[in-house]
Symmetry: D2
Subunit: 146 residues, 4 copies
């Protein structure tokens, strides 16, 4: 059994600039747009494991998001450089990933969040009660995290 | 003091058809788009109280969303008619609204969610520790809900 | 050969309310969002012909948009009721549809536009040089429009 | 009078990765999302001239898009690295910018487009018949392009 990956391997970070089209009339990012920022960081994390959305499909599984939580601490503004970090938290029965958005310059915490995904068999559209073996292979983890 | 409004006054419901541009490659609504559906129902609710986004601004307050939670039960598909209900839950210190999306034909529960907003003084951009009097006037409620 | 359908059959109109999440920092609809409004009207038009996106796929064809033009006359604002009309202009080699957005109350012209789509074989992903027979059947038109 | 800037100064190029949330059920970028990609390149171009959206507002002018044209040559797919180039074409009476999206690896041409913007006085909301002096200062151009 491979050992639990070091914490730095279970985390990915992207840096992005807040675009104009994500702003609302108050000149701050509209709250629904943060799900996009989380997703870009999540895809960077999944790519590290060779299990991004295209590879999920090839493996015969879809991984729909079944839960989203966003906690807005400070608003994001136009042209702000922000860092979005995604960290893997759970994988055995479902894929839980935590997010932290910080100001790239000051490091100030701006947003926290979490998504939960479950495996769905792409052919039958049935939900998996446990994450499929392919996830553990990609994570180089045993189902018990060892 | 005016009495607590009847439950039917604290709730609004809109019916909408799922548009093509909200779908993802799996042919279901991309999870980040639900925040838009919640907002349309929230605006219908706020309009009932004569306190929609334009009236908020006139009153001198912004009401940014500080927390969003979405629980995806069943996926929404193209052209599906869905009902989105928004129900006021808290108002004294913050505005908490619950959402329920159901299939308009069968009534099947598809999505649940909650948003929390707080008042921010539009001039000073300072957060209000308690909801401003204008909210209670519009809700026809005393701060203690009576 | 069936006759050219009357002009009212080749046109569909939807009425919608401008949502908050489509606004930009100037308090008007961000220009890229109009493609969504056109699409909702286009889907209403295609539904009249029993050839909406789900039926396109069943018929073995995708119809990607290959050209989009939008002419912004007056800005759309929050909560404005607007009418979006889609009118079929060409079908023999490609599907060209014109759009007109007007204020639902005053009838003032707000936006004009056009999309052009071509048929693509869903299996081979090859572009069709001429619209496939299924389109003419649904339009109840001969390829020469008679 | 300052001379016409060299062509390389009138052009900006950004490189981006196609995100999952911009895809449609056919697994390609939904056509309305290209306006976002154009905007990111346009903002890079305007930043070169110290006249991005925040500086526009400080200068007392809004620059709404009054015309958008997109010509889709080949579809953009998930995770594709694309280059988006924005090139200034007209400035005297209106700001016309051309766009070219290419595959970052192969250089294949994927999308072409153009936006046209006009200056609007932010205070009076009146459209300017000619671009205001601030634009020429920032472009280091005389109104006749010399």
């Amino acid at each position: 059994m491979s050992a639990l990956p070091a914490i730095e391997q279970r985390s990915a970070r992207i840096v992005m600039t807040v675009p104009f089209h994500d702003l609302d009339p108050a000149g701050i990012v509209w709250h629904g747009n943060y799900a996009k920022y989380f997703e870009i960081a999540r895809c960077a994390l999944l790519t590290q494991f060779n299990y991004n959305y295209d590879e999920m499909l090839v493996s015969g599984f879809l991984w729909p998001v079944i839960d989203l939580h966003v906690r807005y601490i400070k608003p994001l503004i136009f042209n702000q450089q922000v860092s979005v970090q995604a960290t893997l938290r759970e994988w055995e029965y479902r894929l839980a990933i935590d997010y932290l958005i910080t100001d790239a310059a000051s490091g100030a915490r701006l947003t926290k969040g979490r998504t939960v995904q479950v495996a769905v068999n792409a052919a039958t559209r049935e939900m998996c009660l446990m994450s499929p073996p392919v996830l553990f292979e990609r994570l180089k983890l045993a189902p018990d995290g060892n």
